[in-house]
């Protein structure tokens, strides 16, 4: 699996992502600068976390129009696999590659803490090493993770099974109005969504920050190991 990580000015989680990817593929992913205008041959593009362009205007708004994003869009249209984490998810929504938007956390606080995610479907490249309903722990660190979309979009996402992950209690129950377990106030406790073809996944929490016992656990590793299984080592 040849992976490339897109770096914008203000991106700061690209090294964590590179470590997670190298751990499962054995090779360092390509680092791609946002002003590049061509992509190398890749199996996976990752938009990592951070504060691209200082979060000015709206998180991800400027990055969504970076020169390389035209190539990312073409990669998506050709059926390529893309993972967007945190700011990467925000960029994918701003670029309208994924539906919805991420608003300020409902309690207005920047939240840096662990959360639990429930896997909503297991038949995707991102979730194949889990079973539907599995719960895993993952860190989250964001100020704007409150997922919203208009009612018709939410209905479509739910109807088409395009919710990837939901914030949940450790026992797997989901309560969108329970602030302790849906900390940013996301609609339907949505923490991540898929594109229509299930090859693009955006999520707010950081599974790449829990892939090594030294980090306190490997709970996020199945996502990356699953991608390697799906896309080849």
């Amino acid at each position: 699996m040849k992976a490339g990580i897109v770096v914008f000015p203000g991106t700061n989680r690209e090294r964590d992502m590179a470590i997670a990817l190298k751990r499962v593929t054995g090779q360092a992913p390509a680092m791609l600068w946002h002003r590049d205008t061509t992509l190398p041959k890749l199996d996976l593009i990752v938009l990592p976390g951070g504060f691209s362009h200082g979060d000015y205007l709206r998180c991800g708004a400027m990055a969504a129009h970076a020169p390389l994003m035209a190539e990312v869009r073409a990669f998506a249209a050709a059926g390529g696999h893309i993972l967007g984490v945190c700011n990467g998810f925000q960029i994918l929504t701003e670029a309208q590659i994924l539906p919805g938007a991420l608003l300020r956390n409902a309690n207005l606080r920047f939240l840096s803490q662990d959360c639990h995610l429930r896997v909503e479907r297991a038949d995707t490249a991102f979730t194949r090493l889990w079973a539907k309903g599995d719960v895993f722990r993952t860190p989250m660190a964001h100020g704007d993770g409150n997922y919203v979309a208009d009612p018709a979009t939410i209905e479509r996402l739910e109807g088409e099974g395009r919710v990837a992950f939901r914030y949940a209690r450790p026992d797997g129950t989901v309560a969108a109005d329970d602030q302790a377990h849906n900390p940013n106030g996301s609609l339907n406790a949505i923490a991540g969504v898929f594109s229509e073809n299930l090859r693009i996944c955006g999520m707010m929490p950081h599974p790449e920050d829990l892939v090594d016992p030294l980090m306190g656990g490997e709970d996020g590793k199945p996502l990356f190991a699953g991608l390697v299984e799906a896309l080849g080592r």
């Binding site: 709206r58 701003e94 919805g100 938007a101 608003l103 409150n146 919203v148 208009d150």
Partner: protein, 80 residues
């Protein structure tokens, strides 16, 4: 010409910032204040002499970047 674009969260989109401002105003004894909505004002200096054309450019910029139409509405006015 100067064009002012005002971007506001759509009606129905929860505005936690507005709620926090309302709460602070109540603490300051402005008990008459009800709902508060917070938005963003962007002023653009545009090299254009025709007001309609300047407004149209402001509108295009709002749609392309300044507003996210998933969650926000905007208005455009020519101010100078």
């Amino acid at each position: 010409m100067k064009v002012r674009v005002t971007v506001m969260l759509k009606d129905g989109v929860l505005d936690p910032q507005g709620k926090a401002i309302a709460h602070a105003l109540h603490v300051l004894d402005f008990g008459s204040v009800g709902e508060v909505r917070a938005g963003r004002v962007i002023e653009l200096e545009i090299a254009e002499t025709d007001a309609d054309k300047a407004r149209a450019q402001g509108d295009a910029m709002a749609r392309a970047l300044l507003a996210n139409l998933v969650i926000e509405d905007f208005t455009v006015e020519v101010v100078a």
